[in-house]
């Protein structure tokens, strides 16, 4: 049956189909968040910076592999010059830590786009008035932040790992270095989870970029500076635990099985600090995703 036009030749059509469970909404929320971030030029600039580091390492691995095959005589010299690119856990740990520094900067600017705007422009109403609960919203947002972190840290590290293996004794390298693979994934998670929680909590409260960057700087610049001063004053390395970024890096080293001996006693403290910060971030985030926020 042909429906009559409602107005001006247009007609409203009904729609009917089986709807998916609410859990399927997490991915669209995450993908939308990631899309919004990648539409800003600033993020491409920061991504470009992380890409430079990645390309440098990528080229170095390739160069070393070429030299090993074509001119083994100079290999010892090349190894001594490019000592850090050795295909061991430390190589990937240091690479991910360096990438993480730029990622941290990127997140400080992404907070407003990913989360802050939901509070300032009514996006929270848009989300929470649909068929999803606040846990779906929260998980979607955390996933989008986590994906951004993985995009600049774990993903390029995995590419380098594959490259190194393929350009050397592939089967032997991959077989003997499964710990590295677990290390990359583990360090990626150790960065993604706490950073997602902290960024969400800060952005939900502070919302705009300037206060958000200031809050972020307090956590990642001021606290480590205070820790360094106190470490000197009291001559106790435990004060380094005030550096949240250092704690994450320490956990990352643990994932690779490459903790420096002098930091070995700090690992329990680092776990405790990271867990405590995550707990505080969750507690701070929960009231901000109450549906009642929508109606206030």
């Amino acid at each position: 049956m042909i429906e009559k036009p409602d107005t001006d030749g247009r007609r409203y059509r009904g729609w009917s189909s089986r709807l998916r469970p609410a859990w399927f909404s997490i991915w669209p929320i995450a993908w939308t968040g990631l899309n919004l971030v990648l539409r800003r030029k600033l993020f491409w600039l920061l991504l470009g910076i992380t890409l430079i580091n990645f390309l440098f390492l990528f080229a170095t691995i390739y160069l070393k592999a070429q030299i090993r095959v074509e001119n083994p005589a100079v290999m010892r010299f090349v190894d001594s010059v490019l000592e850090s690119v050795s295909g061991t856990g430390e190589t990937y740990r240091d690479f991910m830590a360096a990438q993480g520094t730029v990622t941290m900067l990127m997140l400080a600017f992404a907070g407003e786009v990913l989360v802050g705007n939901d509070y300032r422009c009514g996006g929270l109403t848009f989300y929470l008035s649909r068929r999803i609960g606040r846990r779906h919203y929260l998980l979607g947002k955390l996933l989008s932040i986590g994906l951004l972190v993985q995009l600049t840290t774990a993903l390029p590290a995995l590419v380098l790992y594959l490259e190194y293996g393929l350009l050397t004794d592939s089967a032997v390298y991959f077989r003997e270095n499964t710990r590295i693979l677990l290390g990359i994934l583990g360090y990626g998670l150790v960065m993604a989870v706490p950073l997602s929680l902290v960024l969400f909590a800060l952005a939900a409260w502070l919302q705009r970029t300037v206060p958000l960057v200031m809050g972020w700087a307090c956590l990642f610049v001021l606290m480590p500076a205070i820790g360094a001063i106190l470490r000197k004053v009291y001559d106790d390395r435990h004060w380094h635990l005030l550096s949240f970024w250092r704690d994450i890096r320490l956990l990352g080293s643990w994932c690779f099985g490459a903790i420096p001996d002098r930091d070995e006693p700090l690992i329990i403290g680092a776990v405790t600090v990271v867990a405590a910060v995550c707990a505080v971030a969750v507690l701070a985030a929960i009231p901000q995703v109450q549906a009642v926020k929508v109606v206030r």
Partner: protein
């Protein structure tokens, strides 16, 4: 037929400030207007129906199912158009509406196709690839309506949908709402303080004042319940007629047109009393019509009296 929603002694407070008090309602499917002044509790009632907030007292059923705990599944049958901004800056119109569909459980491809359809229906097809923050006020209102309609809900909750629109935009929005309201199986709750909008779209109204329901039922029945007002036309000396009517206990309100007045009669008044007054005042009645209240008058009366009138189908 199951009621659309049912509230029993529902109350809600923002801290110490009560927004709704002892609201009991049973409303069936159709177009329902929710009217009241700012702060009367309209938005709070909408938010309760949507499940964004829980009543501090009483119970609430939507689509005949009482919501225990806080499930959100019933929202697949509900579309909500909020009064306030609810945009996601950076998204294009089509992405915004498609995301709304996906959040309601639609697969991505279906959501996108349906978003195109809905935007075309609401005459936003040319702006669909534009960023939402570049939309005008009228376009934003239509975009919010598109996001509410994308999954073809059975119940539309509209909070001030014509707010901020120019007369043409308002008329266009009301045209669309009238069409939607007339579709079988569809219901809408239109919350507004513009009584003309309700009169045009809705058959029934809920009148709220200071968090209480002061009137509920079909607008037609609300109008006739206390229609003790007549429009009287005459030829002759109007002052004498007015004196006689006053003497019989009626109230005469001046009209802008000469030879015409609005007369509010007391209880027990009969039509022949008009002719009696005319005969005694030596004037000729040329017109006598029972005057129906418009919704504005009904609203003013209900707000003033604080009484509840119920249509039969709400009992």
């Amino acid at each position: 037929m199951d009621p659309l929603f049912e509230l029993i002694d529902v109350a809600y407070s923002y801290g110490r400030h009560p927004a709704l008090r002892d609201v009991s309602l049973t409303v069936r499917c159709g177009a329902i207007g929710l009217v009241g002044q700012n702060g009367a509790g309209k938005s709070t009632l909408i938010h309760l129906l949507l499940g964004l907030i829980r009543p501090t007292a009483g119970s609430l059923k939507v689509f005949a199912s009482e919501r225990r705990g806080w499930p959100t599944g019933f929202r697949q049958r509900v579309g909500f158009m909020p009064e306030r901004e609810s945009l996601l800056p950076g998204l294009k119109g089509i992405e915004y509406v498609a995301l709304a569909g996906q959040l309601c459980g639609m697969p991505r491809r279906d959501a996108l196709r349906r978003a195109h359809e809905t935007l075309s229906y609401l005459e936003l097809e040319e702006a669909r690839y534009r960023a939402v923050e570049q939309y005008s006020v009228g376009m934003r209102q239509r975009l919010k309506l598109a996001a509410a309609l994308v999954h073809d809900p059975d119940l539309l909750l509209l909070d001030e949908p014509t707010s901020g629109l120019d007369p043409d935009g308002r008329a266009a929005m009301l045209d669309v709402l009238a069409v939607l309201a007339a579709r079988p199986g569809k219901s809408l709750v239109l919350s507004t303080h513009l009584l003309g909008d309700v009169e045009r779209i809705c058959e029934e109204a809920i009148v709220l004042d200071a968090g209480r329901v002061v009137g509920v039922g079909p607008i037609r029945e609300m109008r006739t319940v206390s229609a003790g007002t007549y429009r009287v036309r005459w030829r002759g000396d109007g002052n004498r007629l007015a004196d006689r009517l006053l003497a019989l206990g009626a109230e005469v309100r001046d009209s802008e047109r000469s030879g015409e007045a609005q007369v509010v009669v007391p209880e027990g008044w009969q039509h022949r009393d008009f002719f009696k007054a005319a005969r005694e005042g030596q004037v000729v009645l040329t017109g006598l019509k029972r005057e129906e209240e418009d919704l504005e008058a009904v609203y003013q009366r209900l707000i003033g009296a604080g009484t509840i009138s119920r249509g039969d189908n709400h009992d």
